[in-house]
């Protein structure tokens, strides 16, 4: 049906077949993000906005390449890619030990790579691949969960050592969503959730670092320390709240321009935006995200086989996780945590992760289009 419809149109087929329902919101969002970064940079392209656009351009090319990958090659490369990223994580740990103190990235000349970011899509890929190969009959047995659990646990362990709680939770989230969608028995998840809630106090008192504990206490009682750990979230809420419905106007944000808002260009870019563009800007951003995620789920639903479906759903969930945690945090509904907002925050690593996820989704979307109607092939 696709080929027929497209041939009859005026628009050339290679352009018409692109997923514009996602690309247009994505470009709008990134441009808007650039605008906000322009303001956060003191009303100038440097230092944030320009590199934001450049990065988007570079990663768009990467996305196009990923989108063009054939399915068999991806199936073949999944585990080696996963292993490579795992080794990079290990290398971070070793370099960190040697260099003294913790670090989260590796440097290759001018490029600085944060392997934990790469791990997010890699885990989703590996999990999708694993459940694709797992015979349907084994779902529900220990063999359906143990290897997959290892696939998640290994990178999480390494990331936790860095230590980076936020990223480990993000990796776990992507992995668990794939497990959930793979059809593992519901009661496993319910009982795991119950055990998790029961273990929360233990984790709080024994597993968390002091600064993490401070974030949690601050989240539960922001007034306890208005000038200390609670300062960030308090200032962020002031920025968002003072924006009102239409905002203070482009380049007129005082919270960001006078340095009251910490990290106005990365973690708190949404607050910077909301201060200047108000509720309308916020709703626009939320709408763009909704369109992109909706497209992601559509791709997953139209997927022709188990691997593509799980891959698309996991990638969408990973993007969602970034958005949700960041927005919950800047609005004072989650503990402060170093998670940037996709396509708006200034920063290469998160842009790369999210663009990889988009690339994977576009790749699945292309497979969907090329393959015959589903049903026979698996």
């Amino acid at each position: 049906m696709n080929s027929f419809a497209q041939r009859s149109g005026i628009i050339p087929e290679p352009i018409a077949r692109q997923p514009w329902e996602m690309l247009i919101p994505l470009v709008l969002l990134t441009s808007f993000g650039g605008l906000v970064l322009y303001s956060a940079g003191g009303g100038a392209m440097e230092p944030f906005a320009l590199s934001h656009f450049i990065r988007f351009g570079v990663f768009a090319v990467m996305t196009a390449i990923i989108a063009a990958l054939p399915r068999d090659a991806v199936r073949l490369l999944t585990y080696p890619a996963y292993l490579t990223v795992l080794l990079l994580l290990l290398a971070v740990e070793i370099v960190g030990q040697v260099g003294g103190g913790s670090q989260r990235w590796l440097e290759f000349g001018p490029i600085r790579i944060q392997p934990s970011e790469l791990m997010k899509p890699a885990v989703v890929l590996a999990m999708a691949r694993f459940y694709e190969t797992l015979p349907a009959g084994m779902i529900g047995s220990w063999r359906s969960v143990l290897p997959a659990g290892m696939l998640i646990a290994l990178p999480i362990g390494l990331v936790l050592l860095q230590p980076d709680l936020g990223t480990s939770v993000a990796i776990a989230f992507g992995g668990v969503v794939v497990m959930f969608l793979a059809g593992l028995p519901m009661w496993w998840f319910l009982s795991a959730m119950g055990a998790g809630i029961a273990a929360l106090p233990l984790i709080y008192f024994f597993a968390l670092h002091d600064y993490q504990r401070a974030r949690v206490t601050t989240f539960l009682d922001p007034e306890s320390d208005p000038l200390g750990a609670g300062y960030h979230i308090a200032q962020s809420k002031i920025a968002i709240g003072s924006g009102g419905i239409f905002g203070k106007g482009f380049n007129n944000g005082t919270q960001s321009h006078l340095d009251y808002l910490p990290e106005p260009h990365t973690d708190f870019v949404f607050a910077t935006m909301a201060e200047e563009w108000g509720l309308m800007g916020g709703l626009f951003v939320l709408a763009m995200y909704a369109l992109i995620l909706k497209w992601g789920w559509k791709v997953a639903a139209e997927a022709q086989n188990r691997f593509s479906a799980l891959l698309a759903a996991g990638a969408t969930a990973t993007i969602f996780f970034y958005i949700a945690i960041n927005l919950l945090m800047v609005m004072g509904m989650a503990p402060a945590k170093g998670i940037p907002l996709p396509w708006m925050s200034h920063g290469g690593s998160s842009m790369m992760t999210n663009m990889i996820c988009i690339g994977l989704l576009m790749m699945v979307n292309r497979w969907n289009r090329m393959a015959p109607r589903r049903g026979l092939t698996t």
């Binding site: 349907a136 009959g137 084994m138 779902i139 529900g140 047995s141 969503v177 959930f180 969608l181 793979a182 059809g183 028995p185 009661w187 200032q235 809420k237 002031i238 920025a239 968002i240 709240g241 003072s242 924006g243 009102g244 419905i245 005082t254 919270q255 006078l258 340095d259 009251y260 909301a274 201060e275 108000g278 509720l279 916020g282 709703l283 939320l286 995200y289 909704a290 995620l293 789920w297 997953a300 639903a301 188990r306 479906a309 799980l310 759903a313 969930a317 969602f320 949700a324 927005l327 919950l328 609005m331 509904m333 698996t378």
Partner: protein, 715 residues
């Protein structure tokens, strides 16, 4: 749904799970996750709306209070003016530097660096370190004020490396006549934490803002304070000022107009010279206090800059108590200066002034003999002669006739033992003893010899120089003159006649004869034709005769010298009192009164006399104070103890010392007083005015009784 953990073994229903089942499970669960995500999205949108619409007002305010920093501009303090509008306390624009202890990163290093940049003395640096160590966070500590522009600029460019250092342009209090007005005006200083707790006005903790700490500065604080201005600036979170938004100018405080005659105050303070004492001059027609000089004093300029440890130690260790305002808090036995007042009491009681008493050099009262200062006796003495010759026997005898009560009542009526409605922080009211007082205080009956002692101003009787001056003006005018210190208060007491005119004229004449006739103070004559001064000498014994003869020996055992006066004698315009502590007798007091009155009638002549004296003393009072400070600091600058943390402590202590000093005379109250020689008939003084050029400010005595008077006394 099956409950899998109830089923044991491998025989699980594997056949139930197949690809299509997984597919449908995927779809159902995908919808579930999608719904959860949609829910989160709706939650976020609602939260966003809540923050930016419902709570918009609150957060907009918070954002504004972040952005805008309100800085108080300390108001310029009102001036304190003398009766002719000349400033006794004014403001001087200056550059200053403060420290905010809370913001200091490395206090020691920062202060040392500041000391280097501003070339501060080591003692000053030590003071600043002490103050920073005890300061509460909010309280700024002054480092230096009155800086040269070059120093200020040099410091300003180094600010980034000196956190907690606040340089600013401002105004500092300036007292043009320095130590001459120290006790009268007081001084200013940064508010202490107690004062801030009492009056939590943010102005008080503004760096560089000072409030009145003593004297009139404290008394008129609210009038002098003014209204602070405000500067609204946009600041970054780091405190950097982005731009000025708006500025409201400060409103200068109200000026206070005093009745004080500035030049006279300065003259009198300087004329006291090396002595320790006070001069009070009043205008008899209005009650205006023209001069309330108390010396030695402190320099309110340096007190206002924050007194240093060395300077404080010097003032504290001085036995002449430069921290005590002797006009109000010095209490002295008035000695023979009470005799005109007692004479008034006698006349009121019906004693005929022409009645004579034969003075044979002493009078037996009970089993004791009370001597007259003139052991040879005065012969037949009427009231006038008793005043100008200061005959003690006349008063012993007459006072016994009328008893103590009328005399005590008259003393109170003349102002002794009274507090006056003046805007001063505290005044001592001394003692006017009477039988009821003695019974209450000591639990003993009044004795005849108590009356005898009281009539010559000894025993329990104590009064302050201010009271003596009021007494002089009441006797001189016959009116119940009330002193006033500010021009906006009404003169009082002038329709209140205390004494009939003929009695007043009689006493005026007798007191004129003290100076201009055959009296005890011939040297007090004014070098001005047609103006005759009237007065009464007094010499107050301080310790028992067995300890000291009052003329020589340790300074603190020597007699006080007193003199009350008014001029012109027949139509009094000015009245006053001079009290010289341990001056060795009234001879120390009346030359000062003479010169002060000379200055009032003929300033050129007065200054001529003063410059001759100051040449011998080693400069003006201010110059001598500075020289002494330099010498003291050089001698033991390093080893002095810290000054009290609070200014209040200084003055509590001074007050306590003053009270203790005032009780000194209780010790000899029960003894027979041997009145000290007063006579100076025709200008031959009994003791040298204790301050010729040869005598430095040491506590060892100048020669006790040099019979050869210096040239200035020849008249």
């Amino acid at each position: 749904m099956k409950i899998p953990f109830l089923q044991r073994g491998p025989h699980k229903p594997a056949k139930m799970v197949n690809a299509s089942l997984l597919r449908s499970s995927f779809e159902r669960r995908a919808v579930l996750i999608g719904a959860v995500q949609g829910g989160v999205g709706v939650l976020l949108a609602l939260r966003l709306g809540y923050l930016s619409v419902a709570e918009n007002e609150k957060y907009r305010l918070e954002s504004e209070s972040n952005r805008v920093n309100l800085t108080l501009i300390p108001p310029r303090r009102g001036w304190i003016l003398d009766r002719d509008g000349a400033p006794l306390a004014s403001n001087r624009a200056d550059f200053r530097v403060d420290l905010i202890p809370e913001r200091l990163v490395d206090a020691e290093a920062t202060i040392d660096r500041l000391g280097e940049l501003l070339a501060l003395e080591p003692a000053r640096i030590a003071d600043i370190k002490d103050k920073v160590a005890v300061a509460r966070g909010f309280q700024p500590v002054e480092v230096a004020s009155g800086l040269a522009y070059e120093d200020f600029a040099a410091l300003s460019v180094r600010l980034p490396e000196l956190p907690g250092v606040v340089p600013q342009r401002g105004f500092s209090r300036f007292y043009p006549t320095g130590c001459s007005v120290g006790h009268l005006i007081g001084y200013v200083g940064p508010a202490s934490s107690e004062e801030y707790e009492k009056d939590p006005n943010p102005l008080l903790i503004t760096p560089g803002y000072k409030i009145g700490k003593d004297g009139l500065e404290k008394q008129f604080e609210m009038d002098l304070r003014g209204v602070p201005g405000a500067r609204r600036v946009e600041v970054t979170a780091g405190g950097r000022i982005v731009r000025d938004l708006e500025t409201r100018e400060d409103v200068q405080g109200q000026p206070i107009k005093l009745t004080i005659d500035g030049p006279l105050q300065d003259y009198a303070a300087r004329r006291i010279g090396l002595e320790s004492g006070s001069v009070v001059v009043m205008d008899c027609r209005t009650g205006d206090l023209l001069c309330m000089a108390s010396m030695p004093s402190f320099d309110p300029n340096s007190f206002s800059d924050g007194i240093g440890g060395v300077e404080y130690a010097m003032l504290r260790d001085d036995e002449r108590v430069p921290l005590r305002n002797k006009v109000l808090k010095g209490l002295y036995p008035p000695g023979s200066t009470v005799k005109p007042m007692v004479s008034m009491a006698l006349m009121q009681a019906g004693v005929d002034p022409d009645e004579t008493v034969n003075c044979g050099g002493g009078l037996r009262v009970g089993n004791r003999v009370f001597g007259c200062w003139n052991r040879g006796g005065h012969g037949a003495v009427n009231m006038a002669k008793a005043i100008y010759q200061s005959c003690d026997v006349y008063f012993y005898s007459m006072a016994q006739r009328i008893g103590m009560q009328p005399i005590a009542d008259m003393a109170r009526r003349c102002g002794m033992g009274q507090e006056f409605p003046l805007p001063v922080t505290s005044q001592f009211f001394g003692t006017v003893p009477d039988p009821a007082w003695k019974m209450k205080k000591w639990g003993r009956e009044w004795q005849t010899f108590d009356t005898v002692n009281a009539t010559i101003g000894q025993g329990y009787m104590l009064s302050s120089p201010l009271q003596l001056a009021v007494m002089a003006s009441r006797i001189a005018t016959g009116n119940h003159v009330m002193p006033r210190l500010t021009l906006d208060t009404k003169p009082k007491g002038f329709n209140d006649i205390d004494f009939p005119l003929e009695q007043v004229q009689y006493v005026r004449k007798a007191m004129s004869d003290v100076v201009n006739g055959p009296g005890t103070a011939g040297r007090a004559r004014l070098p001005i034709p047609d103006v005759l001064i009237a007065g009464k000498t007094g010499t107050a014994q301080v310790v028992s005769l067995s300890i000291s003869n009052g003329k020589s020996g340790p300074w603190k055992y020597r007699d006080h010298g007193l003199f009350i006066f008014f001029a012109p004698y027949d139509n009094p315009r000015y009245a006053g009192a001079v009290v010289i502590e341990h001056g060795g007798g009234s001879g120390a007091a009346y030359p000062i009164a003479r010169d002060v009155m000379t200055f009032l009638f003929d300033p050129a002549k007065g200054l001529e006399a003063l410059s001759a004296l100051e040449a011998g003393w080693g400069g003006t009072a201010q110059q001598r104070l500075e020289a002494r400070y330099a010498a003291y600091a050089a001698e033991r600058g390093a080893s002095v103890s810290r000054p009290p943390r609070r200014e209040e402590e200084i003055f509590d202590r001074v007050e306590a010392e003053a009270r203790r000093a005032a009780t000194q005379s209780d010790a000899i109250a029960g003894e027979v007083i041997a009145p000290r020689p007063e006579a100076n008939p025709s200008g031959t003084p009994p003791g040298a005015p204790a301050a010729p050029a040869s005598a430095p400010a040491a506590s060892t005595a100048p020669s006790p009784a040099p019979p050869a008077p210096p040239a200035e006394t020849a008249r």
